[in-house]
Symmetry: C2
Subunit: 476 residues, 2 copies
């Protein structure tokens, strides 16, 4: 589409990560800018990854007996006001719809759907027999927070899933809130090969209206954390505000417990930053729509046997949804570059000599490693290589993430770590004022309080007795 010299990624990941990132996403055709400021277009290469994530997570939803549903895009102003913290938290981000005087009240495009869903829940939940009520929706949401869009990472509109469940008991609610967090972490690993840490958000960082917010976060190569998704134990706050109650087994009126949890298309941004390289995208095998590209290597005027074998391979390898690139107007080298830029996990090359030997060459996108494979073993070998590649990508990313987390025990070390583009693991007093000061001094924010770790010592900043182990870093 553009001139040849502009086709490749022209900036190195380590030289200018934001510019490199934008090029990789645009040239890999995952997404594009929209003429509407703050919005983005998700192109087929990106959307197919989102569909893989959806398919996989729909199975998880089934396991937890969560059903999909769909609630209205527009939410009345009065709904936001019912839960004070929630209202305050989202107020700056709302986009209002303007339909003259015909409407009784102002309507906002949903930034999240707690309020409109719980209004319905208050009607649907009557008896203990109606619980647990577990619904999810896949939808678009709008948060008017930014104007400088970062593709996938920050845009006014994004796609996500939001699960909203109601339980009889506090225990059941808390248990599933945490189980979903685990499922999220596994999903990121199994599909996108992304490692993450999990934990609890501080009071300052929790979701407006939640009792407790749990999060899973990954650490990007530039030392900035990316919040991948959150699972909120809402306690009974929303139930009280929205008058959700039920008759329990003893015919007594009771207030239920609720959670909500979501992840979004942001995850695709993490995938890019984590895995892509100076040649472009690297799509983890389990996220790739086309797992293989087949490139026959034919010399002008010579035998077209490689073309024939490639065509046959295309049908043999159907389960991998292969791309057969038999274009005549571009060279094999040009094709290699293109498919590397687009991140197809495996490339199969077939030249005249390979045809003679009944073999082909498999090249891994992540390592560039070449392997000669007898054609008769091809399916088995591709399966094996894809599995190995998925595991290797995760292991590599996991190691990089862990290498970028440093334990610090005083504020000078803390500041050095942040300056050095690391995530700091440290001790904290747990007070919001102190947390705010740390942010003002270093631009780092608290990411999460890991589970099951004991805080033994003093706060890294104010030296008061520590209450929590905590991660701090800059963030997206």
């Amino acid at each position: 589409m553009s001139e040849d010299k502009d086709r490749g990624i022209t900036i190195k990941k380590e030289d200018d990560m934001p510019e490199w990132y934008e090029q990789v996403v645009l040239k890999g055709e995952l997404a594009d800018f929209s003429p509407v400021s703050g919005f983005m277009i998700i192109r087929p290469n990106g959307y197919s990854i989102w569909q893989k994530i959806q398919d996989e997570f729909n199975l998880t939803l089934k396991k937890y007996k969560v059903q999909n549903a769909y609630f209205p895009l527009l939410i009345p102003e009065s709904f936001f006001k019912r839960e004070a913290e929630h209202a305050e938290g989202f107020a700056p981000e709302l986009a209002w719809v303007n339909r003259k005087s015909e409407d009784a009240e102002k309507l906002a495009i949903r930034p999240t759907s707690e309020t409109i869903m719980y209004d319905a829940y208050s009607k649907w939940v009557r008896s203990w027999r109606d619980l647990p009520l577990r619904l999810n929706q896949w939808c678009n949401v709008l948060r008017w927070e930014v104007s400088d869009v970062k593709l996938f990472l920050r845009s006014r509109e994004f796609l996500w899933q939001e699960g909203h469940c109601v339980y009889e008991s506090e225990e059941e609610c808390e248990k599933e809130t945490l189980e979903i967090l685990d499922e999220y972490q596994n999903l990121a690993k199994n599909i996108l090969a992304i490692p993450s840490i999990t934990g609890t958000k501080t009071e300052k960082e929790k979701f407006p209206g939640a009792k407790t917010t749990y999060t899973f976060e990954s650490l990007m190569p530039d030392g900035k954390a990316l919040q991948m998704g959150t699972s909120h134990n809402l306690g009974q706050g929303f139930a009280k505000s929205f008058e959700i109650s039920y008759l329990d087994k003893n015919e007594k009126k009771a207030i239920p417990w609720q959670n909500s949890w979501g992840f979004s298309t942001r995850m695709l941004g993490a995938m890019v930053m984590m895995h892509a390289d100076d040649k472009g995208l690297i799509i983890p095998p389990n996220a790739a729509e086309n797992k293989v590209v087949i490139v026959p290597i034919v010399f002008k005027g010579k035998s077209d046997e490689p073309d024939k074998v490639a065509k046959k391979l295309e049908s043999t390898l159907k389960e991998f949804n292969p791309i057969l690139d038999d274009r005549e107007e571009v060279t094999p080298g040009w094709k290699f570059n293109e498919w590397e830029m687009k991140g197809v996990p495996l490339r199969i090359e077939i030249g005249p000599r390979d045809v003679e030997k009944d073999q082909c060459v498999i090249v891994r996108r992540d390592t560039g490693k070449k392997e000669f494979v007898p054609l008769k073993d091809i399916t088995k070998e591709i399966n094996k290589t894809l599995e190995t590649m998925q595991n290797d990508m995760f292991k590599k990313a996991d190691k990089e993430m862990k290498d970028n987390i440093v334990e610090v025990s005083n504020f000078s070390e803390f500041e050095d770590a942040i300056k050095d583009k690391k995530m700091a693991k440290t001790l904290h007093c747990g007070e919001t004022a102190c947390e705010t000061q740390i942010q003002e001094k270093t631009t780092a924010t608290s990411r999460c309080i890991p589970f099951k770790e004991t805080a033994d010592g003093k706060c890294v900043h104010c030296s008061k007795p520590a209450k929590v182990v905590i991660y701090f870093s800059r963030n997206y």
Copy 2:
């Protein structure tokens, strides 16, 4: 959830179809009203049917090499103005977003996405190698036309798919525009057991900005047509307005041809009206998430063998996603009523005597027909019965639809047909003024001009020489 006496459908289909329809949808828990005027909630029972439709149609998209993508929710005012007819057609239905002075221009929530997609297409399409370009999106759209929502049939927001393709040749464009229409008709038949007629819309009824609009319509039992979906040949109009052009194989600049096509959650409304009865929903087997409900019939103090067999059956019949209703607090009769109201295709009853005989009873929701089936044959028998039921439902609906279409040759017969809640098939001069007069006199609108029929005679209304065979009826 409500009192027992209100649980069933309290109004007969033939007595008051609109009221009956609303009860069936609400009590079948397909959908619910939203506190926001003109909007609706799609509940899990309804959404699961939409998901079946999505899954099936995604296979069709693959067949046609159409890829899924996602474009922004908000569209700048200037985009609408580029195609004059399109702008005029949608102007009354737009909802504008109000974000003070920070935005350069007004933004509307998408009523359809031609404009925002084709703006991107003008950037992406450069060469004949980029064609055909075939994209689809599954999304929500907003049309502010109504305030009295009719669940699924008429609401300000609805879910749909919109396909938008770009071709080098007029022939290819026209061919696929019509092929998609066929696919739509098959989808409605194969999943929802809904019969339909297909044809061309008149100038008056075509999509704003289209060259030709093709439609598939079904006729509801109350004699009103329901437009199920449309496929538009857009010609080169949008391509010119949005400056989409490409270099052809001879390196000459050329204007491409485009189509767009969509169907929506309205289809679910057709399914209800067409098939449901005075007991409630009847979900066609291929649309049902749970194809079977198992009800053990246990008498107090007697053997619990039926319960055990029912449990075993639940796992044997896993592929049908069965519901096992082993609640103790309600009677079998109460359960029968509930699952009939919710439209589960087959009910399996197991009583003590069935256990003795190693059999169970299968009851079809559509006919109420009971069949004793040996337990060892159950899977085979259910498969067979579901298939028969799907076919029977289609045949019954198809016969009803055809019985409600009458051929008329003069205006008095025409008026009688419309008064008699029929669809009239007749001859027409093809002029918009005449068509408008018919509508003013009878409230009937032209539905479509069937393919391949010759108009031989005079216009039913103005008696000028007829140009087309045409269907007229009232409509949703």
